[in-house]
Amino acid sequence: MSYVDPITLLFASIFTSNIILANFLGTCSFIAISKDLGSSNGLGIAVIVVLVLSSAISWPILHYILIPWNMIYLDLFAYIIVVAAVVQALEMIIERVSPALYMSLGIYLPLIVANCAILGVVLFMEIRNYDYVQALIFGFGSGIGWWLAIILAAAMRKKIDKSNVPAGLKGPGITLITMGLMAMAFVGFSGILRVQ
């Protein structure tokens, strides 16, 4: 398969193949959290950290354990344990090292395990046969892309809160419509650059 150079991959994973707006992964926590800008920032940063760490750990597991031992059918099992373990460990470390950071970031950590974006990125890493550097960059770029998308959505929701929306559509309803429009805009990006 053709080799995608790291810079292109980074750019593509942030913009053109944005994990949430192009692949629609990680929408649940996106909708729940984007109502507040500060929380969105916190969750976004947590997602970046977890994505990089899980890609870094999953890649060796895939290439040195699952493939040589012919246990590829357990891939989902291995990845989700890695993701959950990373989140769990991060939660414990942050709690001990910096209680202040724990107060602001800690509550979002459990949400990340249920974030399809993380599992999706790790699966993409396997499916697209990335090497170690590519896997790390793709994880980092996808994290940045997710962070960017949730910040944008949170900023827009701040504005929408002040507008006159029908009572039944307030909250999640109008957010979904906003996201639909954002996603349609991102479909346009996919023509510029394509990564596989």
């Binding site: 990680g26 929408t27 729940a32 039944g168 309803g173 979904l176 639909g180």
Partner: protein, 220 residues
């Protein structure tokens, strides 16, 4: 807190607290699979079964799990059932497994499964947890099937692969490309949510009005 009954759980999950319309969970897969009725049905059956059995299992071992490390057990149990479902599909319904592709694996991170195993299962006995998981899945199914019944005719001119529009609808390009693509699901969910919530608000108001009337009557 008193123990919830089976009837209460059913009502909660199917309407009052519908996982998609009220709790806004499980949106990821809502978007992608709902352009075909058949795919939607199989996917939601999978979600219902996985949620039910994962809830059952976690409720069963709930006394052995420390609250702090519960997450890892949740995902272990959920992944177990998802991989099992995937293996069974691969062997006995390979066509279906193929048409759902990567989305079977993504049931693991379906927020509905995570949500029920996080909130309901650790606090309740196994049987009712099973029922809670199952009905949550059914509530999810109801909304998704509704979506797919709207999207599939617009997109492909069929419902569950039975043609309802003449073949020219697709071959001459009258079909709605937007209905094929994921963003249309965002808009449709929002519209369904709107109708659902407006209904709820009306009922609430009627209730309030009745109460005020009663109170006035009492005063007089």
């Amino acid at each position: 807190m008193s123990m919830p009954t089976f009837r209460q759980v059913t009502k909660e999950n199917l309407s009052v607290n519908n996982p998609v319309l009220v709790q806004v969970l499980g949106i990821c897969s809502t978007l992608a699979v709902t352009n075909k009725v058949v795919n939607t049905l199989i996917m939601t059956v999978g979600v219902s079964l996985v949620t039910a059995f994962a809830s059952f299992t976690l409720s069963w071992i709930r006394h052995l799990i420390a609250r702090r490390v519960r997450m890892i057990f949740q995902v272990l149990a959920i992944t177990f059932y998802v991989v099992l479902f995937q293996l069974i599909l691969n062997a006995f319904a390979p066509e279906v497994a193929r048409s759902l592709g990567p989305y079977v694996g993504l049931i693991i991170t379906n927020c509905i499964v995570m949500g029920r195993t996080e909130t309901f299962a650790p606090a309740n006995p196994p049987l009712i947890s099973w029922w809670d998981g199952f009905t949550s899945g059914i509530g999810y199914m109801a909304v998704l099937v509704l979506l797919s019944v709207i999207r599939e005719p617009l997109a492909f001119g069929t419902i569950a692969d039975f043609p309802i529009f003449p073949p020219q609808y697709v071959s001459d390009g009258y079909n709605w490309t937007i209905a094929i693509m994921a963003p249309s699901a965002f808009f449709l969910v929002a519209i369904i949510m709107w109708v659902f919530k407006t209904n709820g608000l009306k009922k609430e108001e009627a209730l309030k009005a009745a109460k005020t009337a009663n109170a006035m009557g009492g005063a007089a």
